[in-house]
């Protein structure tokens, strides 16, 4: 039982030592406000571990466990199994990990959970690099972004987590963005109510790692969507809803020029990135729409 030494408005302490303007902090508060107290959270080492706490003090008012970097999903599966064994089917079991702990080292455990249909909720807050260890590149680091291990820009594009999740045919998966919190909360609620594994992949602007003015976190999240760099959609039992289908994309420069991690790009590279982003966006939207056509055809057949 927590000894409450700090009055807070929600389940998250106000003074958590996340960087000023941290997108993750905004996410955590919204997640907790939707999920509520009847939740067990599993957190790997990383930025989100700031909420686990230090020593005897925690920044969260709910039950939790800080596991290893690669086994967040597995730890969640253990809690779920034990709760089930005790007849508790109501508590939400939330795995909350970053991109490194999800698409790199944690992919195997995540795949296991998704394939077994364990009823856990998985949130990947994607700040697009290993921020807690000093901004090293991950497989979710976007094309051309500079990190401490991709100093001249990452030569390859990012791994598509949603495709991987969908390949497991799980009941619910969605992407989200901090600039549209209503959309995010709606998705959180759906994920929470899913009878089976659910996954939310949310882009998480990081002023420290992306090198921008901390006041622009929400603005950048918005620009990522508007430029087609981040696509908002939901996957529900085979049906896709695209939440950010745009007629015209804003130029990529609007998004990248306020970030230090793209500062090294030549005009040529910027053009290449523009081209890549646009092509990928349209191709992917088409793919998602095709998914629905196939689902419908199957339903009517």
């Amino acid at each position: 039982m927590f000894d409450i030494q700090h009055k807070s408005k929600g389940l998250v302490s106000h003074g958590v030592s996340a960087c000023a303007g941290c997108g993750l902090e905004l996410i955590m508060r919204n997640v907790m406000s939707v999920l509520g107290e009847d939740t067990v959270i599993l957190i790997p080492p990383g930025c989100s571990a700031l909420f686990s706490g230090y020593g005897n003090e925690s920044g969260l008012k709910i039950a939790g466990f800080q596991g290893n970097l690669e086994n967040t999903a597995a730890c969640a599966a253990g809690v779920r199994a034990a709760l089930n064994a005790q007849g508790n089917y109501h508590t939400t079991v939330l795995a909350f990990a970053g991109d490194g702990g999800t698409v790199d080292i944690g992919l195997q455990a995540l795949s296991g959970v998704l394939e077994r249909r364990d009823r856990i909720m998985y949130i990947c807050y994607d700040n697009e690099a290993y921020m807690n260890t000093g901004i090293q590149g991950s497989s979710s680091t976007p094309f051309f972004a500079s990190t401490t291990t991709t100093p001249s820009g990452k030569p390859t594009s990012r791994k598509n987590l949603m495709e991987i999740a969908i390949a497991h045919d799980i009941p619910y998966a969605a992407t989200a963005s901090i600039h549209n919190l209503n959309d995010f909360k709606k998705k959180l609620k759906k994920a929470m109510e899913t009878d089976g594994p659910s996954l939310i992949h949310i882009q998480t602007p990081c002023p420290t790692g992306w090198r921008y003015d901390p006041g622009k976190s929400v603005e950048l999240a918005r620009l990522a969507v508007q430029t087609g760099s981040w696509i908002l959609f939901e996957y529900e039992d085979g049906r896709v809803t695209i939440n950010s289908k745009l007629k015209d994309l804003k130029p990529i420069t609007d998004y990248i020029e306020i970030q230090g991690r793209f500062k090294h790009l030549t005009e040529e590279q910027k053009a290449e990135l523009q081209d890549y982003t646009e092509k990928y966006y349209h191709r992917y939207i088409k793919k998602l729409e095709n998914m629905n056509i196939e689902t419908e055809e199957h339903a009517t057949a």
Partner: protein, 101 residues
């Protein structure tokens, strides 16, 4: 349920445990990090609640019935400036922490 929890925590006896665990819900006063602070022009404020919604530290409260309608808890405000950047009526600005208003 949360109130109940807080009540229990006062009633229950403490027992000794082994190994790593956090049992105190606490906070650091991250307000001391601030280099700049957000200030509000209450005249221009439309009380839309955008600043409250996007504040990562959750320390802004918007009261529709008060003249000083936006209240910021500076004990924890890290001075990131998201509230200022997102404000649709441009009624907020950042000022140096040790400067004059």
């Amino acid at each position: 349920m949360q109130k109940q929890q807080e009540k229990h925590s006062k009633e229950l006896k403490k027992c000794r445990v082994l190994g790593p665990v956090a049992t105190i819900f606490a906070s650091s006063t991250t307000g001391s990090w601030r280099l700049e602070r957000p200030v509000i022009d209450y005249e221009k404020c439309i009380k839309c609640g955008t600043c409250e919604r996007f504040c990562p530290t959750n320390v802004i409260d918007v009261y529709k019935d008060r003249a000083e309608c936006v209240v910021i808890n500076y004990d924890y405000c890290k001075g990131c400036g998201i509230c200022v950047n997102e404000c649709p009526s441009k009624c907020m600005k950042m000022i140096p922490e040790r400067g004059e208003e």
